[in-house]
């Protein structure tokens, strides 16, 4: 082992020495290093990778990039190191990393991966970042600068010093300046430190604050340092103030996001329970059906994952809506005016639907894929980034809410629904088919639950128990908001969501849930009809 190590060490030194001599010599050195890749143990990889990078040959990137992404393999037969990518026939397309020669595709069994781990990948990322500083694509440069900011190294800082003048992109140049300022703060004279600390005030990168705190801790207790100390503390305070503000914004976003999930889950119920007065315990299962519809759509069109959610929305609406109409026609209409029996019957239906899904799709959770546009996050600044899936779901929930509001307010169906819910006999006297309206209303509420299921499939596991997790919350939201009032549902959902998320950091998820629940119970004691009670004769 020792011998191997000293050999490696020797290699490193000799390559550094010969780096300037000639290109061909370098290449043979690189070949020798690459040949070691397949047989080197993980704990001995770091110096080897460093040595490869130190050769500064054009192939370095071709070797390290696939090594970082896990695409670097070697042929079991002759230990030739290749970059491999799976093709459509499930075979592996090979490229020799040294000669860039394309080799015939092989099966998985013929090749073996060159192993790395997180630490090595981090090391490679740092090394590649130094090379990428001069990349022509500015997004690549930006990534490289960010990486360098996170893990500064001397080589990188030197190149940044040379590059900053010629850098065209505003954002990249700014980060480069931050890197240099941090370096100045670390190694400069007191005067330089002072100016660096002043300029760094207000930067939100976490590295900046850590560096300022570090400098403040290291500063000796001497009178001549007092000015620097004051400036450092001032800069840290500035950053912390901003951090508090952005922390609040972030929490608000989390709260609204939870609120929008609650809104989606409750809004269908606001119609069936709020408007029609039917206690529908199978409401959660309507969401579950919507989520499973998304799964089925993805299975049917495996090549259209990006559009699967758009297709799933109408499909889930139809599936859940259809089942809703069936339930209304088959069960609920016979139980009109008997809430207890409706409750029991719909609870039974919910169990039947769960078991049905278990038999058809197995009791295991199904995997619903996230389309590309739903993954990742929108970075507003280094302290605040909003995840796309939550962002879209907030927008989606509001869209569903307002379209439903429009339907109820503006369409003739809405008019009929309101008429029936306010005074059934009078509505019937005016030749409105009340039983038909009931069925359609129930279908509408269930269909919207189905749409909620599509959104939930992106946030939680799609399994037979999906609905049960949301049914209680849905009822809480509707009761809290005031039965029969859509705006109440919106306000209630958002209030509960935000309240929960502001409590969570200090209380933990379990306790914050409990507190919200207790608060609700107390509120209902005071105002039994919720936030926005219905007024007038229709209230009864």
């Amino acid at each position: 082992m020792l011998r191997l190590f000293s050999l490696l060490f020797f290699c490193v030194i000799s390559f550094n020495a010969s780096a300037a001599v000639s290109e061909t010599q370098d290449n043979s050195a690189l070949v020798a290093l690459v040949e070691q890749l397949p047989s080197t143990k993980l704990n001995k990889m770091a110096p080897l990778i460093k040595a490869i990078a130190a050769t500064s040959t054009p192939q370095v990137q071709d070797i390290l990039q696939p090594l970082m992404t896990g695409d670097l393999y070697y042929l079991k037969s002759n230990k030739q190191v290749v970059a491999a990518h799976k093709n459509e026939q499930n075979q592996y397309q090979l490229t020799d990393v040294l000669t860039a020669e394309v080799l015939p595709a092989v099966a998985k069994s013929a090749i073996k991966k060159v192993r790395t781990n997180n630490r090595l990948r981090g090391q490679i990322r740092d090394l590649l970042a130094n090379l990428d500083l001069t990349h022509q694509d500015k997004t690549v440069r930006l990534e490289a600068v960010k990486q360098l900011l996170q893990n500064p190294n001397q080589t990188g800082i030197t190149s940044v010093t040379n590059l900053i003048k010629g850098e065209q992109d505003e954002q990249v140049r700014e980060l480069m300046l931050v890197i240099l300022l941090i370096d100045q703060l670390d190694t400069g004279s007191t005067a330089e430190k002072l100016s660096a600390a002043q300029q760094l005030s207000g930067r939100l990168e976490s590295k900046v604050k850590n560096e300022l705190v570090k400098q403040l801790d290291l500063l000796p207790e001497q009178p001549e340092n007092e000015e620097l100390r004051a400036v450092l503390s001032q800069s840290i305070d500035d950053i912390e103030q901003q951090a508090t503000v952005y922390g609040l914004v972030e929490n608000l976003f989390f709260g609204l996001s939870l609120g929008s999930v609650l809104l989606l889950a409750a809004i269908g119920l606001a119609i069936t329970f709020g408007v029609m007065g039917v206690i529908n315990m199978a409401h959660g299962e309507m969401m579950m059906l919507g989520a499973y519809t998304t799964y089925v759509i993805q299975q049917m069109f495996p090549n259209l994952i990006e559009y699967s959610l758009l297709m799933a929305v109408p499909a889930a609406f139809l599936v859940s809506g259809f089942v809703g109409v069936l339930i209304e026609r088959g069960v609920i209409r016979f139980l009109k005016g008997r809430p207890l029996e409706t409750l029991l019957a719909t609870f039974g239906i919910s169990l039947i639907l769960q078991q049905l899904v278990r038999s058809v799709f197995s009791p295991l959770n199904r995997q619903v894929q996230a389309p590309q546009w739903m993954t990742g996050s929108l970075e507003i600044n280094p302290m605040l980034s909003l995840t796309y899936n939550r962002l879209y779901i907030i927008l989606f929930a509001l869209m569903v809410f307002f379209s439903l509001l429009m339907i109820l307010k503006k369409s003739s169906l809405g008019l009929h629904v309101r008429a029936v819910s306010q005074n059934r006999d009078m509505a019937r006297a005016l030749s409105i088919k009340s039983s038909w309206v009931d069925a359609i209303t129930f279908g509408l509420g269930s269909g919207i639950a189905g749409i909620a299921g599509v959104a939930l499939s992106q946030l939680t596991n799609v399994g037979p128990n999906l609905g049960q997790a949301y049914i209680i919350d849905s009822f809480l939201v509707v009761v809290f908001g005031g039965v029969g009032n859509l705006w109440g549902t919106l306000v209630a959902a958002m209030t509960m969501g935000t309240f929960n998320k502001f409590l969570e950091p200090s209380m933990g998820p379990v306790l914050s849930n409990i507190i919200v629940l207790v608060g609700l119970v107390l509120f209902i004691q005071k105002r039994p009809k919720g936030l926005f009670p219905q007024k007038g004769r229709s209230a009864d």
Binding site: G70, R115, N117, N118, R119, N365, T387
Partner: protein, 432 residues
């Protein structure tokens, strides 16, 4: 209506007569050795436990094909405790008192084991428990072939500290006995290693938690102080998937803040979108990806037995495999299936691990096993990135908890005690 009911009743009576007839038939059939299988085949745990039932059946079929045991055939008796913890005790009693089985392979969750334990001790049964658990237990009637905390959690922390260079730790767990006890041990261990209290963050979530945005944001903030941070996750079951998804969406990669999990294995990952998990870690005593002849034979045998090429193997399956092999050896050594004789014969029995090396049953009823740390790959398999140089002896009583640091378990003469206090030289008398 009435007629129909009557018919139904008749049918039930008839079928139960047939059923009992069959059962008694079995009972009087040749003098077989009976092996009880006490794994949930329905309910929430069925996902994991059904696999173990199949593993035991496969091992029995193999042993019978080799000519059985002590010249007799082995006969499996499968019952379904349905993920219902008290039912484990009832079904355990049924296996021991009615079916008179010679040994039981069973249980997954700690609460189910605790439920059946009094029955085992009362009726002097023998059970093999194949899952990693929180320790703090050693019964005369149970052999623990899964990992104790010092065979999974402690080496994982060592890896994070020495190889990743972690200085700050987040302990995330589902809110029940295994994560709480494990995290208590880990906290004590980290403190002993010089980690300050402000560098440890602990958080518990309910079963099936899906809204991870706040917690992940907290982890991100906790990890942005410039010190390397790592997450130690005892999050159980399907709550893991939204957790890893949220990590990916908030842009936390395994290189920034690695997550090491104790409850995520091949079975849990099979069929899932593993993209957001790649590079994160898991600590086990076995990975399917380890290339040894024994393991390849085991995998091939399993796929053939189950008739599905896509099925994976995992750590509790290896623990079941080792447990069964050891029991067979012990019965052969003792020449009988008598529980007391087999229990004594078990100690010192050695069986090769599937991943190389030899597993030995120690006097404390725990195994010596190697500890492996793997990184999750895109195909749902693990790439081993670290392993202990030697096997680690399972420690029933953690040395890092004040309540148990003086306790040892030794079931050989003269101590013969599961919780022997070395300072007072007394056996506490507590039965388990």
């Amino acid at each position: 209506m009435k007629l129909e009911k009557l018919k139904l009743k008749k049918l039930i009576v008839a079928s139960s007569i047939v059923a009992t007839g069959l059962m008694t038939n079995f009972a009087y059939a040749a003098d077989n050795i009976k092996v009880g299988v006490l794994h949930s085949l329905s309910g929430t745990m069925a996902i994991s436990e059904t696999t173990l039932k199949d593993t035991v059946l496969m091992m029995i079929a193999d042993q019978n094909a080799k000519g059985g045991l002590l010249g007799k055939q082995i006969e499996p008796v499968v019952v379904d405790p349905a993920s219902n913890w008290p039912l484990f005790a009832e079904k355990g009693r049924e296996l021991l008192a009615k079916e008179k089985v010679d040994v039981i392979f069973g249980s997954w969750t700690s609460v189910s084991r605790k439920s059946v334990l009094p029955v085992l001790e009362e009726l002097n049964g023998l059970m093999f428990y194949p899952v990693q658990y929180e320790g703090e237990e050693s019964s005369k009637n149970v052999f623990y072939t899964g990992a104790a905390p010092n065979q999974q959690a402690i080496p994982a922390v060592d890896y994070l500290m020495n190889d990743i260079g972690a200085e700050r730790f987040v302990l995330l767990g589902t809110d029940y006995v295994y994560p709480r006890t494990t995290n208590k041990i880990l906290e004590a261990y980290l403190m002993a290693k010089g980690v300050k209290a402000e560098d440890i963050m602990v958080n518990y979530t309910p079963f099936g938690h899906s809204d991870w945005q706040g917690i992940v944001a907290d982890v991100k903030k906790f990890g942005s102080t410039g010190k390397q941070t790592a997450v130690i996750s005892t999050v159980n079951g399907d709550a893991n998937i939204p957790f890893y998804k949220e990590l990916g969406n908030q842009g936390i990669s395994a290189e920034d803040i690695p997550v090491i999990a104790f409850s995520v294995g091949e079975e849990e990952l099979s069929g899932f979108d593993t993209k957001p998990l790649v590079g994160h870690l898991a600590a086990w005593n076995y990975f399917q990806s380890v290339e040894t002849e024994a393991n390849e034979a085991f995998i091939a045998n399993w796929k053939k037995y189950i008739g599905d090429d896509k099925r994976v193997t995992n750590d509790p399956m290896e623990a079941t495999y080792i447990g069964f092999k050891m029991w067979v050896k012990a019965v052969e050594k003792a020449g009988t299936t008598d529980v007391d004789a087999v229990e004594q014969a078990m100690i010192g029995i050695a069986v090769p691990n599937l991943t190389g090396g030899i597993a030995v049953m120690n006097p404390n009823h725990h195994l010596s096993k190697p500890v492996l740390i793997g990184e999750i790959q895109e195909d749902g398999q693990f790439e081993v990135v670290w392993e202990t140089p030697d096997t680690v002896i399972g420690d029933a009583w953690s040395d890092f908890l004040p309540s148990s640091k003086n306790l040892v378990s030794d079931w050989t003469a003269p101590i013969k005690c599961g919780n022997f206090d070395v300072t007072t030289a007394k056996c506490s008398g507590q039965k388990f």
